[in-house]
């Protein structure tokens, strides 16, 4: 494929996706499952890409994502709950005096949420990034738990409302808000990954010693990757709080981190498009397509065995195992979705179909340049 056809195809593709989202926004009912899946998918896609930036691209295996989501969610919630709703939310302990009379506009609070996460990542990173491999994973996991417990602790009652959590969190009025924020954040991360910084992250992942010998400052770059990843994970957490309208210490347990890790691994460590694709697929499968398995179903008076509440997760797990068995490195591996890739896939899987077509346009065969 030539470069112009690729650009045109990419534009067409982006337009089709945007049109699909708009169609769903305009024509489906507000409670439709498709809307839910698309919105949640967008939030999870953002968080998965942020985790992939650290785990897949820089090779730092972090399990602290839920901690940063908690920070982002709480930071966003604390500053945006409308002033007149505050008394209702903090009905037991009352609200702290400095918080009483102001609330921030949504975009400001979102950025603030990101900054809170980034600052914490910076401070935590100084000691923790000296650790390697499994030890780093355990340390970040510990950090996430600490954050969760601190948020629910009594001394913070008048700020975080302790174990009761926060409610009445405002969200975007428009259905498109979440998509726009997620798209901007993912685009920023892609720009970052395609820059010299992105290249040096990958170099660190491939070989730390060689990267150091090439003059890459390991400590500085790891810190940078950790802070950026946490910044976007916190914004993701804030979007989640916005979507749920409520947040409490039990919203982001370790299980959430594993769930995101699962999305990243299924999508492919080191592939942004893989993470996005897998976020939507995993959410759709778990929350929507497999739902019928949770109810008792009858075919003409015959009750299908096994179907009951919870059976969906059994099938979900089996599917995951199959996916991991057949796509060892995730759906996309460490490649990005590209037109050459799609072209190559169809050429391989549908040889007879393409063979006939190709005879006339063989000179176009080259062009494997865009990895």
């Amino acid at each position: 494929m030539t470069k112009t056809t690729k650009t045109i195809s990419s534009c067409v593709f982006a337009l089709v996706v945007a049109a699909a989202i708009v169609c769903v926004g305009q024509f489906s009912s507000p409670s439709s499952m498709l809307r839910t899946v698309l919105q949640m998918g967008a939030v999870y896609a953002l968080i998965a890409v942020s985790m992939n930036l650290l785990n897949g691209f820089t090779g730092l295996f972090s399990l602290g994502q839920a901690g940063f989501m908690t920070l982002g969610a709480y930071a966003y919630a604390i500053f945006t709950i409308p002033v007149d709703a505050r008394d209702g939310v903090y009905y037991l302990t009352g609200v702290a005096d400095w918080l009483k009379n102001f609330s921030l506009p949504i975009p400001v609070a979102l950025i603030l949420a990101g900054l809170v996460g980034a600052l914490c990542a910076y401070l935590v990173g100084i000691p923790v990034l000296r650790l390697k491999g499994d030890y780093f994973a355990i340390a970040t996991l510990g950090f996430a738990e600490i954050v969760r417990i601190v948020m629910a602790s009594t001394p913070l009652n008048r700020v975080t409302n302790g174990s009761m959590g926060l409610t009445k969190i405002p969200g975007f009025k428009s259905y498109y808000g979440i998509f726009i924020v997620a798209a901007i954040c993912i685009a920023l991360m892609v720009l970052m990954l395609n820059s010299t910084y992105g290249r040096s992250f990958k170099a660190i992942r491939d070989d730390e010693i060689a990267a150091e010998a090439m003059g890459i400052n390991l400590a500085h770059h790891k810190q940078l990757a950790f802070v950026i990843s946490s910044f976007f994970a916190s914004i993701g957490g804030a979007l989640m709080a916005m979507y749920l309208n409520a947040v409490s210490a039990t919203t982001f347990t370790v299980a959430v981190t594993y769930y995101i890790l699962l999305i990243v691994v299924i999508g492919g460590m080191g592939s942004v498009t893989g993470s996005v694709l897998s976020a939507f697929l995993v959410i759709a499968a778990k929350e929507w397509w497999l739902r019928p398995l949770d109810q008792e179903q009858f075919i003409g008076g015959f009750k299908i065995p096994l179907l009951r509440s919870g059976f969906r997760m059994v099938i979900f797990s089996v599917i995951l195992m199959l996916v991991v068995l057949f796509f060892r490195r995730g759906i996309m591996g460490d490649h990005e979705l590209s037109w050459d890739g799609i072209y190559g896939f169809f050429k391989k899987t549908l040889p007879s179909l393409f063979h006939r077509k190709n005879k006339t346009q063989d000179p176009e065969k080259e062009g494997g340049a865009n990895g």
Binding site: A203, A213, M214, G215
Partner: protein, 240 residues
């Protein structure tokens, strides 16, 4: 030693957990020459190179590069002064393309690198053919070319090669030594650490023989190659 020394090392001591790997050695690397370190496994050759590159911290050292002290600087500062290490075992970035590997080599440079990429490709045409290939799919010899090309991208004044012929077929080893000569012709000083003493002494202007952390002999490549004890220990059949 009519040339000016580009690198001077005085009293270099490195220890790992109380065991001295390098025991207070001193040496001079004259500008524009090929200097080789020879010695058995565990003699401390790699440690010396890694210490110069700043990756290993010495217990005691006085290292001056072009008259400036560089001991204690971080690896990125040392690279920006013009010293690049081609690490042992090639250590190319396997999941990046050949071109990306070269670009990483120029990581600290702010100027235009297009001309240098072309230059490296002209030195190693094989790399140009494989420009878009993942570096991990290259053969051993090609990977070593890439490792050297990547180091050249940083425009070093001194290039240190740690065991460049390790694990390569004899025919490829010959290619590697041709590469070393090419690099030298570019006007770059080469500090070579090599187990293949035979080949190394042939190309070297100067050689240091290292045994258990000490320099036991130094001289021109030809002098060392002619020495009886060296012949027996490193060049003859009695190699162990």
């Amino acid at each position: 030693m009519s040339n000016k020394n580009i690198l001077e090392i005085r009293n270099l001591t490195v220890s790992f957990g109380g065991i001295e790997a390098v025991k207070g050695i001193s040496m001079d690397i004259p500008a524009g020459e090929i200097v080789t370190l020879i010695g058995a496994n565990g003699a401390g050759k790699s440690t010396i190179l890694r210490t110069i590159a700043g990756i290993v911290k010495p217990q005691e050292a006085e290292i001056t590069f072009e008259g400036e002290p560089i001991n204690g600087l971080s690896p990125d500062k040392i690279v920006s002064k013009g010293i690049t290490l081609v690490p042992e075992g090639r250590r190319i970035f396997g999941n990046l393309t050949v071109l990306e590997n070269l670009k990483i080599g120029a990581y600290l440079r702010k100027d235009n690198i297009e001309a240098d990429i072309e230059h490296v490709y002209s030195l190693f045409p094989r790399l140009k053919e494989r420009s878009w290939q993942m570096a991990g799919t290259l053969s051993g010899g090609e990977q070593q070319m890439l490792a050297v090309g990547r180091a050249l991208m940083g425009k070093p004044k001194l290039i240190m090669m740690d065991e460049p012929s390790l694990g390569l077929a004899p025919l490829v080893v010959k290619d590697i030594f041709d590469i070393i000569k090419t690099v030298h012709k570019e006007g770059i000083t080469v500090l070579l650490n090599e187990q293949n003493a035979n080949m190394a002494l042939k190309v070297a202007d100067r050689a240091y023989v290292i045994e258990t952390g000490n320099i036991i002999m130094s001289g021109t490549g030809a002098e060392i190659a002619a020495d009886d004890s060296i012949k027996e220990a490193y060049l003859g059949k009695a190699k162990h």
